[in-house]
Amino acid sequence: MTNEEFTDKIRFDLRTIAEKIPEGSSVLDLGCGDGDLLAWLCEHRGVRGTGIEMSKKKAAHCISRGLSVLQGDLNNEVNDYPDNSFDYVILSQTLQQVYEPAQLLHSLSRIGRRVVVSFPNFSHYGNRLHLLLKGEAPVSEELPYHWYDTPNIRVITIPDFRRFARDVGYNIVEEISIKTDPAATCGKVIHWLKTLRATYGIYVIEKPA
């Protein structure tokens, strides 16, 4: 067993996702934020990338970086693409904010070949201890909001996501569990006691042909 240590100028969780994207792929990044992942993929992987971002400010920032980004609601924006437009659709720390995740994944199976999903693992021992000892809804570095001001309308655990992926008809191609701090460029891949120790779960999933 090895604990791979990575460092790079983009966040470790983004870097881990990026490692899964083959050279020259076409990529749609849903909730692309400031475009760090897209920019990295365009530069280092030669991908044809498009992002969708709700925030006007962030979308404008991405375009100013030379990225192709649409400002809008990803739930609507995914509907206009022709079938099989993308090799990879990325949902990086976005799923926990989506109102109808099953519907979204259904839409994504039409436009993309594979989907990469990452989310903060709610069953991390820190969250469990927080709830157990304090009796309060966990507030962590990964999920830094209170129950009343969080954009994260869902909490997802690694076992929850495995079941969800299966229930919506996807196969899990790869599961990577990582431990990293939210803004950190370094971190490590977790191989045992993932459910307890991983701060993020990253999945590559696809619909069976």
Binding site: K56, R65, G66, P82, S85
Partner: protein, 376 residues
């Protein structure tokens, strides 16, 4: 002060073989006024075409040598020039005046060489497509084989879209700003009011007014209506509110008591001095007829192959009620469906439709970054 000096030039074509128009009619000869900033490179692939809005002209940036000291520079001066967002040290910027206008290109006020008098209403009806076809003749004449980008706002944005459907293989990137694939009923309605104001002026005389009194009142009213559509409720509230013009009391008459009245009258009068009423009729009609929706849907890479691929940046403004953001989103959806590479953002502004002409930091930042990512 080191002023950017530009010169208006003229290109005349279709002298022997008349230009074929979308209406089935022809026009001969055709003159296009145009200005250039920056040099075309050896490969001929660094040209950017700027298409202007309905009442605009070729004077997109800089100053003429004949300008007075207090003269304003061209209408997109904050965006275009050496070192600016559309950097004329890197790009060769071309801005033609549209066909049908009265700013140097052939239009209804031009002399019909056959009859030795102004065309007036004998001028053939034009489309946005005809305007673009004339621009293509200029671009060909200049030895430009492909355009790095076509950029324009409002009716200029329509020309951008027309370029994309007519000559997709020549266009690397397109930036339609504050525009639409087709006029809504609201946009046609305001154009119709503007036209009716002109045609109701007794001096209009069925378009034949060039040797007498011009329909100045009608044209001024048309411009007043236009200006309301270019502003927004927010901008008018901020700029004018209910404030009175140089007075503390109502006049209890029909003078311009309110600042907004005075502003509109001023805009109307100013416009009369520089624009031709018949040109307004022709150009607004062309804008009303314009519809690129189906053609855009049919000409992306999905059906047209990689040659048809154009990199788009669509921009709308949050308080534009003439071409509201939903119309830009419709454009974006159409482009996505045809597999085009499209970026979109709505810029927050309270300045309404006119916002694209008003200096602010977002548009230049977007433009600079977007153009840097466009490869010939």
């Amino acid at each position: 002060m080191n002023r950017l000096i530009v010169e208006k030039e003229f290109f005349t074509f279709a002298e022997d073989e008349p230009m074929q128009l979308d209406s089935g009619l022809t026009l001969s000869p055709v003159t296009i006024a145009w200005e250039r900033i920056g040099e075309l490179n050896e490969a001929g692939d660094n040209a950017i075409l700027i298409t202007h809005a309905f009442s605009g002209d070729s004077h997109v940036t800089g100053y003429y040598t004949t300008d007075e000291k207090d003269e304003k520079p061209g209408w997109w001066d904050y965006l275009i020039g050496p070192g600016r967002a559309i950097d004329t040290n890197k790009y060769c910027v071309i801005c033609p005046n549209i066909l049908g206008s009265c700013m140097g290109s052939t239009g209804p006020a031009s002399i019909d060489s056959a009859r030795k008098k102004p065309w007036a209403l004998d001028f053939p009806m034009l489309t946005i497509g005809d305007m673009v076809k004339a621009q293509k003749a200029l671009v060909d004449h200049l030895g430009i084989t492909r355009l790095r980008a076509v950029i324009g706002g409002s009716v200029g944005g329509m020309q951008v879209l027309e370029w994309c459907v007519r000559y997709p293989a020549m266009v690397d990137a397109a930036v339609p700003i504050a525009t639409t694939m087709r006029h809504s009923a609201l946009a046609i309605a305001f154009n119709e009011i503007a036209r009716q104001a002109i045609m109701a002026d007794p001096h209009w005389n069925n378009g034949s007014y060039y040797d007498g009194e011009h329909p100045s009142m009608g044209l001024a009213i048309a411009r007043m209506v236009g200006h309301v559509t270019y502003l927004s409720d927010e901008a008018m509230r901020r700029k004018f509110g209910r404030r009175l013009q140089n007075k503390k009391e109502f006049s209890f008459g029909f003078d311009a008591d309110f600042q907004i009245e005075s502003y509109l009258r001023h805009q109307g009068t100013k416009f009369v001095n520089r624009f031709d009423a018949n040109s307004l009729l022709y150009i607004t009609r062309a804008a009303d007829y314009f519809n690129a929706a189906e053609r855009l849907a049919a000409c992306g890479p999905l059906t047209g192959g990689p040659e048809a691929a154009i990199k788009y940046l669509v921009i709308s403004y949050s308080t534009d009620w003439l071409y509201p953001t939903y119309q830009s989103r419709e454009l974006v959806h159409t482009l996505k469906r045809s597999s085009q590479n499209v970026s979109f953002v709505e810029i927050e502004s309270d300045c309404g439709h006119d916002a694209f002409l008003i200096p602010e930091p977002t548009l230049p930042e977007l433009m600079r970054g977007f153009l840097a990512g466009v490869k010939p």
